[in-house]
């Protein structure tokens, strides 16, 4: 009896710790039951984000968080993280006159990282979605992308409809994941099972092994993955979605305006086009 009581007390304690940690995960009282949850950060972190730019300048460095397994936007080469997002981040750091530090973590941990203040911004080929907007602010869009389907070379899946009843692999937390999981049941197709991996490469590896029938992932990473395994897999032409990539910052952070300025300057000077063509050779 005593042991049961103490176990129960421990659980209650743990739970109340969890519930109290609102500044990390954020719980908004005004989210309606129909929509998906969790809203903005508490006023505590908003105050901190109030002059994020000044804080960064004082620190002398800016922290970017990303998932460096997403060629050509961010990937590892010779122990360094390179790619389109890495270059844009470098420009942002230069504009602020600080050093850039890139942290490489799981993709679905990027938003919580920014939300919790562990990083100043997230540049991870991240698409703007309503759910994400509840937790972070997005800059202007700097790239248009779409979700594509990769299948085995002799697969009988030729179009979107063929995905019905198939096993699809995705990277956990990406819009590919959201599309295939289709919680709001908006799609006209229904996959049999969604297998979620930590990185796109693992999903493709299972595609080649035959454990999944198709992989849904962003356009340009898809190209790179197919390039490396051109004899075994192929990318279908049909795009599943149209999305916009943007950089995520903490809610209310004035870093957003500064990044928008940088993006604008890169666009006008033609540097953005240079960066893109450096990594996307088409």
């Amino acid at each position: 009896m005593k042991k049961q009581l103490s176990v129960l007390l421990v659980l209650v304690l743990l739970f109340s710790f969890g519930a109290c940690a609102t500044d990390n995960t954020g719980a908004s009282g005004n989210s309606t039951p129909e929509s998906s949850p969790t809203g903005s950060t508490t006023s505590e972190s908003t105050a901190a984000a109030d002059d994020a730019v000044a804080a960064i300048k004082a620190k002398g460095k800016i922290v970017m968080v990303t998932n460096a397994e997403f060629e050509p936007f961010e990937y590892k080469e010779n122990d360094e993280i390179v790619g389109i997002d890495a270059e844009i981040a470098q420009k942002i750091a230069e504009k602020l006159g600080v050093e850039l530090e890139i942290t490489d973590i799981a993709f679905d941990s990027c938003v919580p990282s920014v939300q919790g203040g562990k990083a100043d911004f997230a540049a991870a080929g991240m698409s703007i979605t309503e759910d994400r907007m509840k937790n972070v602010d997005f800059t202007d869009n700097y790239f248009n992308a779409s979700q594509m389907i990769i299948v085995g070379i002799d697969s009988d899946i030729k179009s979107r409809e063929d995905l019905n009843g198939k096993v699809v692999g995705v990277q956990q937390g990406t819009t590919g994941d959201v599309y295939c999981t289709d919680e709001k049941k908006e799609n006209d197709i229904e996959v049999a099972e969604v297998k979620r991996y930590g990185k796109g490469m693992d999903a493709v590896s299972d595609l080649i092994g035959g454990r999944v029938d198709a992989v849904v992932i962003d356009n340009f990473p898809a190209d790179k993955l197919v390039e490396k395994n051109a004899d075994k897999i192929v990318k279908l032409d049909e795009a599943l979605t149209e999305e916009e990539y943007a950089i995520a910052v903490a809610k209310g952070s004035n870093l957003k305006d500064l990044i928008n300025e940088v993006l604008r300057e890169l666009d006008e000077s033609g540097e953005m086009a240079d960066i893109l063509s450096k990594y996307i050779s088409e």
């Binding site: 739970f15 519930a19 908004s28 039951p33 509840k134 979620r196």
Partner: protein
């Protein structure tokens, strides 16, 4: 205070009830139990085979030298490397095309076998030598003695330890999510990915493991008492 509970209520609703998200945890639990049970089965079978080889060799160094060497190698490697590394090797390198659950059962089974083998070997060796001698002197062959006299007694000695291995294995399977297998832990993680809310799903997952382990420990205590009783003749 009122608002706190309201918020908590909304979060709990969103994390579990909305769109039946609790199903990720339910399905994950099913997979975890499946993997654990079958892996334990394989582990025990493997463990018994290896333990017998090792015990026989220990009894008479001239017998089963090669087999014993192979077993020794297997034990050293499996016990010397992390489970997650073994799982990754099995999943990405060795069984590239097999169904994920099958790969998990095999990987965890092989890993479990190494630990169970040692437990069973000590159980076999703890059976009084007198039993073996009596069996042989009654005219039973080595094999008959082993199977009919030694093993049943050894098993009674090690049953609690194997149960412990079952409990260990249940918690070990939580790394299966790393290779995309949807077990209980991964189920909670998926909800976290969707809702950006970490505590409720993960706490619930932790609580489920806890409840199962406490339940199993209770059964273990009952088992141990039962076995001890038969010792008092």
């Amino acid at each position: 205070m009122q608002q706190f509970f309201e918020e908590l209520g909304t979060r709990l609703y969103d994390d579990f009830i909305y769109q039946e998200r609790y199903m990720y945890i339910v399905k994950g639990l099913g997979n975890t139990v499946l993997i654990t049970v079958f892996a334990l089965l394989i582990g025990v079978i493997l463990g018994v085979l290896i333990a017998v080889v090792r015990a026989v060799h220990a009894g008479d160094k001239s017998k089963l030298k090669l087999l014993n060497g192979i077993c020794g190698l297997y034990l050293t490697v499996i016990r010397g490397t992390p489970m997650i590394v073994q799982l990754m090797i099995m999943y990405f390198a060795i069984l590239k095309s097999a169904d994920s659950l099958v790969v998990a059962v095999i990987a965890f089974g092989i890993n479990s076998g190494a630990y169970v083998a040692e437990v069973i070997r000590s159980g076999i060796q703890s059976v009084d030598r007198g039993q073996t001698e009596a069996g042989r002197s009654l005219g039973l062959t080595q094999r008959q003695t082993m199977v009919r006299i030694v093993m049943p007694q050894a098993f009674r000695n090690v049953a609690p330890a194997i149960f412990n291995e079952f409990i260990s294995l249940l918690k070990e399977t939580s790394v299966a999510g790393y290779v995309g297998i949807q077990d209980l832990t991964k189920g909670g993680d998926i909800i976290r990915s969707i809702t950006y809310d970490a505590f409720p799903p993960l706490l619930v997952v932790g609580a489920i493991y806890l409840v199962i382990v406490i339940g199993l420990t209770r059964i273990l205590a009952v088992l141990e008492r039962r076995f001890a009783k038969s010792d008092l003749r």
